[in-house]
């Protein structure tokens, strides 16, 4: 379908880029991205992907908007308190860009639902806050051969990496197994500077866009870390683990696992 005049204007700053152009913008409009977690990372990512004209955006989260979210989850406003995060996020995204079709999934991801959730999407963005979900997303994406962006944030630090099937290590190659409950602090326990979600979530959106338009070098085989206090970005080269339990030639994990969630995260 040709672009309308309105679309030509809306996406003009994209279309003028030789790396995007009409062709790239069409790819974005035809793309389907699933964001798991409408929080600190998912909120900025969802805003930029909607604004960029990613045609179908799925958003999964079981929570409601809480006052303590608003310090960083910029897709929700004070008027949204108590509302389902996916509903609030969907309203903001469609308000920014009516071209975007938003699919909402008011659920946490589990071993039971994740394969169905990711099935229809081209790229998955992990915006979750806990390790059981991060390992579940990794394993499901490896098994379903879906590319995804991992990210984590805490205090003044953040990190991200991109998994593309057959093109480098998965999250489990690097981190093996979730840490025991409460061994590693969560944002709720340790705090996080709000703008960190903006930096790292926007970088996740950037990876999704680059993957869709097929331009540039993704963070495959690399972990990008950001230290806001030192104001330093650092890239760490990641090898593949030939004996990785999930992505190696002879995986020992062939079924999805629901790891136990830290209790402090379960309670609202």
């Amino acid at each position: 379908m040709p672009f309308t005049n309105e679309q030509l204007e809306r996406y003009s700053r994209h279309i003028i880029l030789k790396e995007v152009g009409i062709k790239g913008q069409k790819k974005l409009l035809n793309a389907k991205v699933l964001i798991i977690g409408a929080g600190g990372l998912g909120a900025p990512a969802a805003l930029y992907l909607a604004a960029a004209g990613v045609g179908t955006i799925g958003i999964a989260d079981a929570d409601e908007v809480d006052l303590s979210n608003l310090q960083r989850q910029v897709i929700h406003t004070t008027a949204d308190l108590g509302k389902a995060k996916v509903k609030s996020a969907a309203e903001t995204m469609t308000a920014i860009n009516p071209d975007v079709k938003v699919n909402t999934y008011r659920t946490f991801v589990t071993s039971q639902n994740i394969m169905n959730l990711i099935a229809g999407y081209d790229f998955i963005l992990d915006g979750t806050d806990n390790f059981p979900a991060k390992f579940l997303i990794n394993d499901a994406c490896v098994m379903a051969k879906k590319p995804f962006s991992h990210a984590g944030i805490i205090r003044f630090r953040g990190q991200l990496m991109t998994y593309v099937p057959g093109q480098g290590p998965c999250y489990r190659c690097v981190f093996k197994n979730p840490p025991p409950k409460d061994a590693v602090p969560t944002c709720k326990q340790a705090g996080v500077i709000g703008a960190m979600g903006g930096v790292i979530g926007s970088l996740q959106a950037m990876e999704a866009i680059k993957y869709i338009i097929g331009q540039g070098k993704l963070l495959t085989g690399r972990l990008l870390t950001y230290d806001a206090l030192k104001m330093e970005f650092h890239t760490i080269k990641l090898p593949r683990d030939e004996h990785c339990a999930v992505c190696s030639a002879h995986p020992t994990i062939t079924k999805l696992i629901d790891y136990e969630q830290a209790e402090c995260d379960m309670k609202k």
Partner: protein, 70 residues
């Protein structure tokens, strides 16, 4: 003395430094759960104690980071 690149920074260290000693010296957070690469290869946790660093090695620490929603 020998030169190591640790977390992207070149610094002098005493020779025959072990990996656990470096982890302590660098005040690595949650050392029981850190992933380590030396010269872009993972070091198995079971091999930490007997890993002795050599002049010119590049060492990286990879930390668990949750964050996102809640």
């Amino acid at each position: 003395m020998m030169i190591l690149t640790v977390a992207g920074k070149k610094k002098n260290y005493p020779e025959r430094l072990t990996l656990p000693a470096l982890i302590e010296q660098e005040a690595v957070e949650n050392p029981d759960y850190v992933t380590v690469t030396i010269n872009d290869a993972f070091v198995e946790r079971g091999d930490f104690a007997q890993t002795i660093l050599k002049d010119g090695d590049t060492v990286e620490f990879l930390y668990f980071m949750g964050g996102g929603t809640v």
